[in-house]
C-alpha cells in the first residue's frame, strides 16, 4: 500500500509551502487523482490522516478530485473515455497510435490555510 508514501509526500510538500508562506496550520488540501494514477482515494484518505499527525497539517481535510481517463487517436481523431480496465487502442479505427489526454494526474491542486493570518510573511517562494 504505497498510499502511505504518497500521503507522506503530500504532507512534506504542504509543510514546505506553509513555511514559505509563514503559516502554521492547514485546514484543507485539495488533490487531483487520475483514474490511472494507481492510487486508491479511500486508502489515501486513511493514510493522510495518519501522515498529518503531529505536523502542521494535523486535523487537515483531504479533498480528492478524481479525473476520468480520456484518450485520443492520433490518426483518426476519435476521443473516448478509456474505462476500467482501460481500452487504450482506438475503438474506431483499431489504431495503436493513441495518446492519453488525462487520467494520470497525481497532484496537489491547492491548500487552504487554517488559523489566523500571519502578518510577517516569509514568502520566498513567489
Amino acid at each position: 500500500m504505497h498510499e502511505m508514501s504518497i500521503a507522506a509526500a503530500i504532507v512534506e510538500q504542504v509543510e514546505r509551502a506553509a513555511r514559505e508562506h509563514g503559516v502554521d496550520t492547514v485546514a484543507a488540501v485539495r488533490v487531483q487523482i487520475g483514474e490511472l494514477a494507481g492510487v486508491v482515494p479511500a486508502a489515501l484518505d486513511f493514510c493522510f490522516e495518519l501522515a498529518c499527525a503531529e505536523t502542521l497539517l494535523a486535523g487537515a481535510v483531504l479533498q480528492s478530485e478524481t479525473v476520468p481517463a480520456r484518450a485520443r487517436c492520433t490518426p483518426c481523431g476519435a476521443e473516448w473515455d478509456v474505462g476500467m480496465p482501460p481500452e487504450l487502442g482506438c475503438p474506431d479505427c483499431a489504431g495503436s497510435r493513441t495518446e492519453l489526454l488525462t487520467g494520470r494526474e497525481l497532484q496537489i491542486l491547492a491548500v487552504e490555510w487554517g488559523g489566523r493570518p500571519v502578518d510577517a510573511r516569509a514568502d520566498q517562494g513567489g
Binding site: 504505497h2 480496465p85 487502442g89 497532484q107 496537489i108 491548500v111
Partner: protein, 245 residues
Amino acid sequence: MCRTVDLRQAVLARNDDDARRLRAELAARGTAVVNLLSSPGSGKTALLEAELVLARDRAVPVAALTADLATDNDALRLARSGAPVKQVLTDGLCHLETAMLRGHLDGWLAPGTRLLFVENVGNLVCPASYDLGESLRVVLASVTEGEDKPLKYPTAFGLANLVLVTKADLAAPAGFDEAAFRSNVARVNPGVEVLLTSARTGQGVGTLLERALAVLDGEPVHRPVMATAPRATGHEHPHPAADRT
C-alpha cells in the same frame, strides 16, 4: 486575505526529479537501469539469474540490485552468476523509490557497468508509480498467473516498455492462452512487445539482455500510451518528447 493558495505540484515530483537526475548521471557513465516489475513468484529472479550468467559469458559488465521486504535469498541466488549483486531490504515498504537506490549505488556500482538490473519488490501495484531512473521498464507475468493479469493491473502493464511472459515451459499444462494474454496487454499498452521466456529451458533467455543493450546504445524504446499523459497540469509540458513522465 486569500487563505487558499494554488500549489499545482506533482505529488511524486521529488521522486520524479531524483529519477531524472539519476538517469542522466548514469547515462553519462554509460550505464542504463532496467527496472523489473512483477507479482511475487512470477520468476523474476530465475530469469534474471539466467540473464546475468549470459552477460558473464558474453563479457558484458552488468550488476543487479534486488529488493525484498526481508531476507537476502535472492541476492545469494543472483550472486551465483558472478555479477556484482546487492540486496536492498525495504523494511516492509512495498516498493522502491529512487532515493533508496541511490544510497546503494554510491561506492558500489563499478565504473564501466553497462546495465544495472533492479529487481523491484514483487508487487504489481505500488512499484508502478515510481520511476527509478530506468531506461527500460520490464513487466513480467508467468503463464500460471492467468491471461487477465494485464487487465487486473493496468497501470503496471500499461507503463511497460517490454512485457515478458515467464515459465513458458509450463504454458501447456497451465492451459495458458497466449492470444488472450497478448490481446489483454495490447488493450492497456498498444504496440508493446510481448516475448515468451523460460529460465528452465532457456527459451527467450538473452532477449532481455539484448533489448537492454540496444536501449543503452540509443535504440528507441517503446513509449506506452499511458506514459503520454501528464502527471500534473500547469508545470509540465503535457507531451515531453525525450523523457518518460
